[in-house]
């Protein structure tokens, strides 16, 4: 898209977000909405600022962050590796492709109670649940990444006498890069989702548990500030990784 | 409407666009008339604006200045009762049968089922596809699909049939066969036809009159009468008369024009 047109799009998006923020603020302040149920955005932001300097809240943030990082660090290499293996071997793909599809379509959240039964409500069940949730998304991405390498390139490279290492490093990796980054992004999203849900369901710490607690205590201002933090952080992460993904895609000459 | 009057009258039609580098004039004061029941073809190089002219006459695009009337009616929007249009791609709806595609303009107008069926049957017979009424577009060949499109174009009894390079995507043999088909359909339907093409032979073989256009800016540079006898037959394709006309057009297009 041309430079001049894209600023209109960006401007439009900024407009939409600002309009929503203004609507929220106006609705709460004007009495359109009960300010106990929907505190104004400004008040929520002020509370968020306070929370970010509160030791207990920061402790929760650290717990959640740690769980997300741990699950992410495990599931992404594991999932991508499994995906690559399936992509490389037609036999394995045929054997495991079906069960993989099946497990993908299952609502895995329903198994969280079993994880809690087995592991209790400590950190383990949350991390393991997040890993399971993200695994079945990352594996197909790894598989797709392998399949996305244009076979013609590999054949040409071999004809030119490239070694195995060169083919992997110079052809496979750059070709698969956008999809790998895509897998990383999806893995992160599903890990965040898994951790937050598991914290809300059964946990002794973490932002999710605080969110649920504030909701039950009807403390809407604290609840909404934590919600804003989680959603804002996820948007920031998602957009950043997506920018990298798009750049890799255009570099490869693939349509975004 | 008395016989011999003009169905299409275009007066000083101009189409220009503002672009980053200035004004681009696609059509510069184009005027033409198309007499009733005649077959007129428009031929010219790429970029001469012949498709734009077709769009303006069909009411799909507005002219910047100038006016077009069809059957005395000023054209500023599509007029499906007066004008039928056949595009280069048949653009048949893939989920509808041939019959349903032909009926579609009538269905949009809310005509009762029996009337629609009868009219569609009539037109499918005219284009020689009675046996394929229930077939779907993906089951028909390119030529057959275009014939369905022609039937659809004629379904509302329009005075004028506009055809914008309808055979350009067909292979040569199918194309030649379609010429004979089209001439038969034309004489059966008695519509007036305005036919845009970039094939010189096609322009001459089908028409009573050929309008030759040039580009930059788009304009009509010559009006040639085709005095080949009707009905046309395919062996005329090799005749010196057709060859001479073709050469004349070629020179007009190839040489720089004032």
């Amino acid at each position: 898209m041309s430079g001049t047109a894209s600023w209109r799009v960006r401007g439009g998006q900024l407009l939409v977000v600002s309009a929503l923020a203004l609507a929220w603020e106006f609705a709460a302040r004007s009495g359109l909405a009960d300010p106990d149920i929907l505190p104004p955005l400004s008040k929520v932001c002020a509370i968020l600022w306070r929370l970010l300097h509160d030791a207990d809240f920061l402790a929760d943030v650290r717990i959640t962050g740690f769980e997300v990082l741990l699950a992410f660090a495990i599931v992404v290499p594991l999932g991508l590796a499994a995906g690559f293996l399936l992509g490389e071997s037609q036999r394995l793909e045929r054997a495991f492709g079906g069960p993989l599809q099946l497990l993908m379509s299952v609502p895995k959240s329903v198994f969280l109670p079993v994880f809690v039964l087995i592991f209790g409500i400590g950190i383990a069940q949350k991390v393991i649940f997040a890993i399971v949730l993200a695994f079945f998304i990352v594996v197909p991405t790894g598989l797709a990444a392998v399949h996305s390498v244009p076979h013609g390139l590999v054949v040409a490279a071999r004809a030119f006498g490239a070694t195995r290492a060169q083919i992997y490093g110079r052809i496979y990796l750059p070709a698969m890069a956008p999809l790998i980054v895509g897998g990383i992004r999806l893995g992160l999203i599903f890990v965040v989702h898994g951790v937050v849900f598991a914290e809300m369901y059964g946990s002794t710490g973490g932002i999710g548990r605080s969110i649920l607690g504030w909701g039950e205590a009807f403390q809407m201002d604290y609840l909404l500030s934590a919600v804003l933090l989680v959603l804002g952080a996820t948007v920031a992460l998602n957009e950043t990784i997506q920018a990298v993904e798009t750049r890799l895609r255009t570099r490869n000459g693939v349509a975004p | 409407m008395s016989q011999g009057s003009d169905v299409v009258v275009a007066r000083d039609v101009t189409k220009s666009f503002a672009t980053a580098t200035g004004t681009f004039v696609a059509l510069d004061r184009v005027s033409l008339t198309v007499p009733d029941h005649k077959f007129v073809s428009i031929v010219g190089p790429s970029g001469c604006g012949k498709s734009t002219l077709m769009q303006i006459i069909g009411g799909l695009t507005a002219a910047t200045t100038g006016e077009v009337t069809v059957d005395g009616l000023r054209i500023t929007e599509p007029r499906p009762d007066q004008i039928g249009i056949v595009f280069q791609d048949p653009l048949l709806l893939p989920w509808k049968s041939a019959r349903d595609n032909v009926e579609f303009p009538l269905a949009l107008r809310g005509e009762p089922k029996e009337k629609r069926r009868a009219r569609a049957r009539e037109l499918l017979a005219m284009v020689g596809l009675s046996d394929f009424a229930d077939s779907f577009p993906h089951q028909l060949s390119g030529g057959m699909r275009q014939r369905v499109a022609i039937a659809r174009g004629l379904v509302r009894h329009p005075r004028l049939l506009l055809m914008d390079e309808p055979f350009a995507a067909l292979d040569e043999q199918t194309r030649t066969r379609m010429w004979s088909e089209l001439l038969q359909i034309w004489s059966a339907s008695r519509a007036t036809v305005l036919f845009v093409t970039h094939s010189l032979v096609e322009a001459v073989y089908l028409a009573d009159e050929v309008l030759v256009m040039a580009a930059k800016p788009g304009r009509i540079i010559e009006r040639l009468a085709v005095d080949l006898p009707r009905p046309r037959s395919l062996d005329m394709l090799g005749s010196p008369a057709l060859g001479a006309l073709r050469n004349r057009i070629w020179h007009l297009i190839a040489e720089p024009q004032p």
Partner: protein
């Protein structure tokens, strides 16, 4: 042996293995249950679970209806012009990436702990993928079809409904598939978090009491729900889906 026959045989074999391991004491019954425990749970609490199944089913269906209709209307409306489409497509796909589950307590505070908050949350989950798919679907269609429809006298409404939406149907249907699966996941999650009824609620309830048979009974019912929805939507996809239309267009 057909593929279905083979799958059913494998299913039975796994069930038998599960029961065997339980009887042999190899698996902790508290954690892993067994087919016999599930059967016992069904006999004891079958009524409650069937009622819960109905509640969950109702929530899912209502949420689906809102998400499907709302998503298609909004997606088609936005997709009608290029600039709004470009502005909103990334916003919609951005929202899909969010852990919307954090909004559920807000909905409970506003709408209560009953079915309404779950239907709302489920509908929110399903709305965005449906809207995005409808938007992309409408944008991707060949604009010449709309021009042809104008030429034959179709009104703007007729063009959108009879031509554009029908052409975008394969994309819309794939969006419906994703949307529905998100609705089901959202409804179940919400029932597990704050509820008074529904399969998610009863699964959690029995987990706290270590009634493993009931827990697995509930899980099985949820899986059945998901499977049924999957089958229905796959049929829909086969009827209107991409492959069929491509085959028709290619000819």
């Amino acid at each position: 042996m057909t593929r279905w026959g083979r799958n059913i045989l494998i299913g039975f074999a796994l069930l038998a293995l599960w029961e065997l391991l339980y009887r042999a004491g190899a698996l902790n019954p508290l954690l892993f249950g067994s087919p016999s425990l599930v059967l016992a749970a069904a006999l004891k609490d079958g009524g409650t679970f069937l009622a819960a199944f109905r509640v969950t089913g109702e929530e899912i269906l209502l949420a689906m209806a809102i998400a499907w209709v709302g998503g298609i209307l909004v997606g088609v409306a936005i997709g009608a012009s290029p600039l709004p489409a470009l502005i909103f497509a990334p916003i919609l796909s951005g929202v899909i990436a969010l852990p919307l589950v954090v909004l559920y307590p807000v909905l409970v505070a506003w709408l209560g702990i009953g079915m309404v908050s779950k239907i709302a949350y489920g509908a929110a989950g399903g709305f965005f993928p449906v809207a995005l798919a409808a938007l992309i679907g409408i944008r991707a269609i060949d604009p010449r079809y709309a021009e042809m429809a104008r030429a034959i006298g179709a009104s703007s409404l007729q063009i959108v409904v009879q031509v554009k939406m029908r052409l975008a149907l394969p994309a819309i249907v794939s969006g419906l598939k994703v949307g529905t699966s998100l609705v089901i996941i959202s409804v179940i999650q919400s029932e597990m978090l704050s509820a008074t009824d529904g399969l998610g609620f009863w699964i959690s309830y029995h987990r706290a009491l270590f009634n493993t048979g009931q827990v697995y009974l509930g899980i099985i019912l949820v899986l059945v729900t998901a499977a049924v929805a999957n089958i229905l939507l796959s049929t829909l996809e086969r009827k209107f889906g991409r492959a069929r239309v491509l085959a028709q267009a290619a000819g």
